[in-house]
């Protein structure tokens, strides 16, 4: 089974802090994605990566950056956390050739105070 793990299930940070959310997948997938999920808004794409060191902006990249130094790991960075970044963050991965069959991690619920 594909396994996508996220470093924390719950995280509480203060406004202005730098926040790192880590995601690791164990199925050698080329593609990795970061979404945020908010009530009434569904899932929205922040950034994705189709290869090591490659990144592409999604629909809502403002206030975020990403890092993909290794194939299995995709990090989401909040340079200076703000209260409107309080959300559920979901990481996903998919194989090349079946990019839409995305496998999701359990999510990290981030609260910014």
């Amino acid at each position: 089974d594909v396994k996508v793990t996220q470093s924390s299930r719950y995280l509480v940070k203060r406004t202005g802090e730098k926040v790192f959310l880590e995601c690791v997948q164990d199925m050698d997938h080329e593609n990795m994605f970061w979404y945020r999920q908010d009530p009434g808004l569904g899932l929205r794409l922040i950034y994705f990566s189709y290869d090591v060191k490659m990144k592409e902006k999604g629909d809502i990249p403002e206030g975020y950056s990403v890092s993909r130094e290794k194939k299995e790991r995709f990090s989401l960075i909040l340079e200076s956390a703000s209260t409107n970044q309080t959300s559920m963050y979901l990481c996903a991965s998919s194989p090349s050739g079946r990019a839409n069959e995305q496998f999701f991690g359990p999510g990290t619920r981030l609260t910014v105070l």
Binding site: V4, E30, N31, F33, Y35, G40, L41, G42, L43, R44, L45, F48, Y50, E56, G58, D59, L90, A92, S94, S96, G97, R98, A99, N100, E101, Q102, F103, F104, G105, P106, G107
Partner: protein
């Protein structure tokens, strides 16, 4: 991508009945559609997908119907069980990406399926 939405935010069905969850999309260029199930405290889980060149696809206890004329997608769950309680999302992409490349999916806002005993 353009918005993908759902007709009803909550659907309540009796255990053993069939469930039908609907989804309307607006992007006529959408080529690939997928249904996800999200249980409480978990990430979304793939259920079934369909390409735009098909109008029906069946899985185990689930069927997805696609009507491109009216831009409508539905998920039918046969003999609904308590374990089917979850939020169901439809999602789409303009490309199937079957030959490489990638893009994020555009998700609808979700329907909460509630199973009555």
């Amino acid at each position: 991508g353009e918005s993908v939405g759902l007709h009803l935010p909550t659907l309540s069905v009796q255990e053993g009945d069939n469930s039908i969850i609907n989804c309307a999309y607006s992007n006529s260029a959408s080529d690939y559609f997928i249904w996800y199930k999200q249980e409480s405290g978990k990430g979304p889980q793939f259920i079934i997908d369909i390409r735009s060149n098909m109008d029906k696809r069946q899985g185990q206890r689930v069927t997805v119907l696609l009507n491109k004329t009216v831009k409508h997608l539905s998920l039918q769950i046969a003999a609904t069980q308590p374990g089917d309680s979850a939020v169901y999302f439809c999602a789409e992409n303009e490309r199937a990406y079957s030959g490489g490349g990638a893009d994020g999916l555009t998700f609808g806002k979700g329907t909460h399926l509630i199973i009555q005993p």
